[in-house]
Symmetry: C2
Subunit: 429 residues, 2 copies
Amino acid sequence: MIKVVRDAWIVTQDPERRIIRGDIVIDGEKIVSVGPKYNGTADVEIEASGDIAIPGLVNTHTHIAMTVMRGAVDDVPFSDFLNRVFTIDSERTDEDIEIGTKLGCMEMIRSGTTTFVDMYYSEDIIAEATKEAGLRGVLCWCVLDEDKTTQKGNPLQNCTRFNEKYKNERKIVPGAALQGVYVCNEETCRATKEYSDREEIPLTLHLSETRGEVNEHRRKTGKRPGEWLAECGIFGERTIAAHSAWMTMHEVRLMAEAGMSIATCPVSNMKLATGGVAPIPEFQEYGVNVSIGTDGSTTNNSLDMFSEMKILGLLQKSSRWDPTVTPAQKLLDFATINGAKAIGMESQLGSIEAGKLADIVILDGKAPNLRPLLPENIVSNIVYSSSSGNVKTVMCHGDMLMNNGNILTLDQGKVMSNAEEMWRALCLR
Amino acid sequence: MIKVVRDAWIVTQDPERRIIRGDIVIDGEKIVSVGPKYNGTADVEIEASGDIAIPGLVNTHTHIAMTVMRGAVDDVPFSDFLNRVFTIDSERTDEDIEIGTKLGCMEMIRSGTTTFVDMYYSEDIIAEATKEAGLRGVLCWCVLDEDKTTQKGNPLQNCTRFNEKYKNERKIVPGAALQGVYVCNEETCRATKEYSDREEIPLTLHLSETRGEVNEHRRKTGKRPGEWLAECGIFGERTIAAHSAWMTMHEVRLMAEAGMSIATCPVSNMKLATGGVAPIPEFQEYGVNVSIGTDGSTTNNSLDMFSEMKILGLLQKSSRWDPTVTPAQKLLDFATINGAKAIGMESQLGSIEAGKLADIVILDGKAPNLRPLLPENIVSNIVYSSSSGNVKTVMCHGDMLMNNGNILTLDQGKVMSNAEEMWRALCLR
């Protein structure tokens, strides 16, 4: 099956960061040609003259099933927020997890995300919903100490079972997660990391989101979380540390030495007012791979990576009084090729190049907010002036998920008709 | 001519901030009924079942004609930014000002803004383009010392001429502007304020955007800009101070005593990394009317008030380590009823109430990013998870500007086909 995207501005994100006007040819799951006019016949013709083709965005930290809890707990002190969300979280059903995931997938498709890294329990329910949506889900079952969880059974065994079941899926990449040092003791951390090493699967964790968790860990262990985790051997090439906001340069260096990635979550950190700002320029300088996550819908409250790129840039520039940090090209890198690297798929994803999987998002080149549109300002327009409303067409792993604004994979009406009832059941008690 | 919006969630922004499910009836320019089912016949039926109707957003600080310069000067040191923008600004033609304005109007319509406060020269060109677009423009001709401007003739005389010509327009509200204390001496400031008082027109100005301008003014006069302007009598009920980022509490109190408004521009301040954060909670506490501006397209680079509301909230919460400041309802107030108050039109605009002008924006209630959608989270969804892509239909002063995503007032193709050529002419030399 041949698909061709015609006459687009192609923001390749290849090693030279080339911007090319031309055609993209997709054969099955893969891109086979980028740029030259395609004179053959195609099974699917995608007219994109003057539109913008970018690699599908990679959201490296979210809790997608929480989408059904959107707007339940805003503008309150952090301790009230935690209490409320933990209560709601512990009372969820398979059905509202499924609907939450599908709603989140719809939102991600509409906003140009084709791959997301999820951290939650019940990832089997989330996997089935994600498969139906057609997105690539890196689904990391959340592990914590058995005496601190509401999960039935042992969390690492649950994680193992999930991984066994989903390890040969086309677009589901199972993984492991550590909820954080506040609920994961050394044994839990080491066992989970050993499992992730043995299976060669991604390992994600919450790291130093708040000052409180850093101080508490120092009080208990004498070490900052990053130091302690490095000593326990938890950091490695497959490790993705979400947030990473309250860091010392010593911790940044330890993370760089491990060759690991972070998923910075600027909107979540700002909305919860947790105070820390991830030291992005230092992460870059020392060689930590920087990627971006939206976090879940109770803390953002959207899953929009376009908005997240812009706000990350604004936060870094404003908090450092330096407009030159995190320029537009870097912000786009974080959301594309660096996201692919974080999940160990940079040879297959994150750019529009022949041989890579066809994860392609097409933005409307006739949208007034993206004009004037020239090679000179196209990256700036994508990062600083686009909106999720500009996304026309989305392809993931060669599959069409949205065409000209129409989602092709899910029964949207059915998903949405259930959403309010579930919100009431979960969030109004 | 009767128009009816059917069965929407109406976010009235009335004094009780009621959210009502029902119909809105518009007779000519004005709203005549909000809520009850309308059983009469209508000339225009707007099916909006389950959609969200909000008052048209009010953007209180922009330079709309600069939209054609989008993405020309990003991620550079502030001094380089100023030099580059001033050079481009001084070489503009009537034609690129017209196209820039129309492009900006298209972007504003698509993102739900129905009223904007503009500060620029050549406001006569901007007025004609704005009339064609159908938006309400509060167009403030920029006054500065005659020896410091590239305007032909005396700026205050230019302003006066413009005001005389446009004072009886239906949707154009002419006004005056002071560029800032760095190019406006006491005589210029006093004469412009006297003119604005005599004509009872809005007066807007740039105030304390950067530390540099504050320090320079103190060096020259011994006073901070806010103190000096208050002493010169420039502050008053019709004064709107844009930015107002580097303020002392003494200045905040002086501004409150004058009964004036500010137009905070969070994205612009963050992107330029000018360091100051407008003290929004203190402005509110002392009684300064807080409204929001996007600033122009070289500093933002969008004109999207949905994004601006969210980012303002994020900046305030994060910079104060307090998630309770600027809650969602307040952010929506800033962008609607407070914007109307800033331009002296709170009895006519800023809420959906019988007797007010019909400035109404309808958001797609079927958009996944706005679901679940209930009275309990509707304001949070508008502020924290909506995007300009959710705007379906826009009405200004009773006129339909966009219907179901189609702009009705401007020849979009013609505007856009000129935009790139003008960008090249202005920004590539």
